[in-house]
Symmetry: C2
Subunit: 467 residues, 2 copies
Amino acid sequence: MNGKLVQSIREAIALSGLKSGMSISFHHHLRNGDYTLNRVMNEIAAMGIRELTLNASSIFDTHAPLEEHIRNHVVTKINTNYMSAALGHRISEGLMDAPVDFRTHGGRPRDIALGNTPIDVAFIAAPTADCAGNCSGKYGPSACGSLGYAFPDAMYAKKVIVITDNLVPYPMKGWSIPEIYVDYVVEVDAIGNPAGIVSGTTRITRDPVGLIMAETAVKVIQHSGLLQDGFSFQTGAGGASLAAASFLKDVMLRDGIRGSFASGGITGYLVDMLSAGCFESLMDVQCFDLKAVESIRTNPAHQEISAMQYASPAAASAVVDKLDVVILGATEVDTDFNVNVHTDSSGMIMGGSGGHSDTAAGAKLAMIIAPLFRARLPIVTDHVSCISTPGRDIDVLVTQRGVAVNPKNQELMLRLKDAGLPVIPIDELKTMAECITGKPNKPVRSGRTVANVIYRDGTLMDTIQSV
Amino acid sequence: MNGKLVQSIREAIALSGLKSGMSISFHHHLRNGDYTLNRVMNEIAAMGIRELTLNASSIFDTHAPLEEHIRNHVVTKINTNYMSAALGHRISEGLMDAPVDFRTHGGRPRDIALGNTPIDVAFIAAPTADCAGNCSGKYGPSACGSLGYAFPDAMYAKKVIVITDNLVPYPMKGWSIPEIYVDYVVEVDAIGNPAGIVSGTTRITRDPVGLIMAETAVKVIQHSGLLQDGFSFQTGAGGASLAAASFLKDVMLRDGIRGSFASGGITGYLVDMLSAGCFESLMDVQCFDLKAVESIRTNPAHQEISAMQYASPAAASAVVDKLDVVILGATEVDTDFNVNVHTDSSGMIMGGSGGHSDTAAGAKLAMIIAPLFRARLPIVTDHVSCISTPGRDIDVLVTQRGVAVNPKNQELMLRLKDAGLPVIPIDELKTMAECITGKPNKPVRSGRTVANVIYRDGTLMDTIQSV
């Protein structure tokens, strides 16, 4: 069978020809339950391979052991779209010599496809695969649903290694990534911990502030002129965003509005909206919970999309460009509507754009939901400490104390004012916040760049300094 | 919606930037019912664009109007995998200055992917599409099932134009080719005549000679040692091949053998074998009849594969490499087991390899079924007038008068002799044929090359001379 099936991760690495100085990649659908990145990195380190570029679509707390590999110069460069606090804080403290290059979920496949970030060996954790490497995330004990972010890695890496804990006879039924891209297949005991794989979803918020914001968000959508048949929608998995989705569902059902699609990371709440007839289809680049996994496996209207189809500016078209409304979060928003989702109040890395910039650029209405302050720190500020998404792509900020509309969108401003929504200039929101919390101490920029924030078109958006 | 939807084929051609001297491509899933190639060529001719390279996966009799475009130098070079007699005979008479380059169904995507035959503008006739170009062959009034051969065109052409007669709202459900590759979408009244689209299948033969060959073919498979659980199989749509599939089904059901897959162009006979449990899956690059179209639309075990996954030597692996047995036809077989499927007895072009060479190279047992003679002309001969598939890739020739095993496969020879099958040296089959028909007059080679036969690895296998 073409000899793709090998006995161990180490054998696959050896056969792939991986050498010091090369580039390797991982996808993040197993999220905080992923075993694969750590296991592969341990093998690589034990083999004496060093100075690698690590291109991972996202890095979670479970990947904290990367710190050791960085200290030992096994990894000397990181390209990623998201990095949670465990490694992020170490990066902010100056762990690496070379800055981390942050991209977006659309910018990453763009730069892979264009050859700007070539991958020598891609490692694909696959919940089900056959001996030729046909593989899918929909089936098996470690099922994660969509494998959307792994498509560019499979298609463009020089060598592709599929690692699975559910090897099935050839040909598997319902593959996502076809054998034509796969060089080696390894069977292991487990690629991840199911409890961690689908832990992305929080519940709908019960916090009164979150509920007020969610209600206001839905009113903004209702009065935006976009909520009509054919409506398309994306939201994140935060508590207030999910509450907004839930309220939106009620409105759509009440008013008999039949949308076209919801996209992005998919939660059970969006699955419910599909089932209820609010949407014709879900366009799924990543499943956040078990209900989404079950749905993408069984409902043909719940469709897997690659990272390219989701958001790549190098694709002939992408789903994000057809979005009517996206609801996004923020750690900071400034009075120019620039949004920070990379760093926390102390300037430490604890996130990343993911699809933030991509959907904000593509959607007709890009909405930020954020409370005016968190833990006595204002969210609205003069200048964000890191521009993750430029203000030009943001239409409106919804807080519990009012709604600030970007002056670039005068039509929306008028519509919301006419509807009696509490529209307030963003400077007033900032003043309001500072009245309550006092003027915050901004983190001091040390001058040493620890990360670059690269916009989806490949241009440098901002840099992040060590703390 | 990114402005992909344009008003006419002509507008799409103009926007694509097609200029004289460029290369265009078409797929052949609409077979002899296809309207699209002729309509596009008429527009191109009317626009004054000339000296094009035409890369068509196959050319049928319905495409006979190409003759006029060749005479007018609108088309000056043809790359194809199959050409039926209407244009084939004109080519053999010396219609074109440049030789036609014949490839295989696997060699074509290989050379497209490697950049050896770049495509400037691909035209994809799509039975269903949305305004972004997501498209499929499974649905709509002109449904043809799989769009397998169109994948390389979509993925590698500089510009891709989807032409559909069933435009549905975005996002369509169950696309095969995603929007990321598609630049323009055109809606037309009809892309083809359904009666011609799925006319590829003949019925099981009632001819006693054909039935004898089919019975013998199944005995060869039974005694080859390959017919066991996990068995994989491909056969063409000729009457004797279909009869062999039908007899094989009976044997597999009687003996409780559960195969893994059948591949290739799929007929209702293979669908019946899937339904009966003879196979776990069908790997479908092309549907030959309505039953296959219905099956690929409704049965997840009936899976669409791209031309790359079917047969490309440039893919990391392909389905043909996992075949146990393939049954193939021939217009001539010579005593070195070389097979001709390109020309008829007078040396005129009337066919092509399609997947012939690809499956012969990949399968563990490549079987030719052919009568000893047809219309008083022997099939077995000293030297085929054109080598379509090299004898090294053929294991056995089944005729109504005996079975010739290629001496390279001694194990098969012993197995078939032990089983009491009428194994005869191929020279004796030739002599037998000539005793009945007389020694044939071989077509005279004029010396002018009208076609090159390019093997799946890109090497020149043979040439075809004008008649």
